[in-house]
Symmetry: C2
Amino acid sequence: MDAVYTAPGYLFRRMQQIAVAIFVEECKAYDLTPVQYASLVSIRTHPGIDATRLSAVIAFDRSTLGSVIERLEAKAYIERKPSPGDKRTKLLYLTKSGAALLRDIIPSVERAQARILQPLKPADRKTLMALLTQLVDLNNEASRVPLRAEGALEHLGKSG
Amino acid sequence: MDAVYTAPGYLFRRMQQIAVAIFVEECKAYDLTPVQYASLVSIRTHPGIDATRLSAVIAFDRSTLGSVIERLEAKAYIERKPSPGDKRTKLLYLTKSGAALLRDIIPSVERAQARILQPLKPADRKTLMALLTQLVDLNNEASRVPLRAEGALEHLGKSG
DNA sequence: TCCATATTGTAAGTATGCTGTCAATCGAGA
DNA sequence: TCTCGATTGACAGCATACTTACAATATGGA
């Protein structure tokens, strides 16, 4: 038996595969990927955020996020507007169509998230989520794009 | 606070990011990715396996595995030989160089796997791994490339 | 033997995810 | 004010991941 099957890295890769497959299956009517969904949700929460701050808020790579934004703009779910104060940045806003999509897709997303954990007993689901949340938080700095949920927005005039 | 932070799918994506980052950091002296490592280990365990069966054994997409194999061959860690019985398939073998690399890299890989779980208390590590193993197994069919660890080798003359 | 069907490797197309680099721009300090 | 360092978005390049499609080949049944 290959040792890889018991390695944490292998198991997390498998779970990521499985989670994405379930998400895509539940949401196929909407043609939206998990990454695109998370981006839309965060833009709704932080209207007028720029791409760099968005990448910190959802812990996506800045380079990758560029093409994600491009696709969301092509589908007319978001708009990019030049920043009045900073000629380098472009501010992101949901369109009406993007807001409507988000409203409609939420039941499918929740079904997907539930299906991921469904095979476990309810008590085990809670335990797993608690440990996973803890581990992600404690390992935050280990990834190349650490999550900066609040700190990233300090210069946006939204906090503090 | 964005709801995405508590979704299982989001947490698994983050852990995958973190696990890959730690693996790459620990193994950077060897220029080998997690996927390439898993492929080498499985080829060592199953010498003469073909690409399709390898993809089932490590639950990688068959298309993706093609380019992985190409890169491993370019680095001279594996060889592809035509199958005597089936003109369609090419059989995979570790080269001396590939076997040596695998021997040398193992301490780094083990360090990486340990680091991924390190922030948790030992008892919590065991709990998390047990639940994760269970969940991956129970969700096996949900991914597009289910693991077929043993069944995939039945036609290779290695089992039963 | 012949043929419908399946398998295998490969390729094209799309989407993350990361490493670099670069020009434009900004901001702070001399 | 001028200049140096940092930031921002964009791009190139590499590596997974998945979908679909296709030609070559195998295989089982008529």
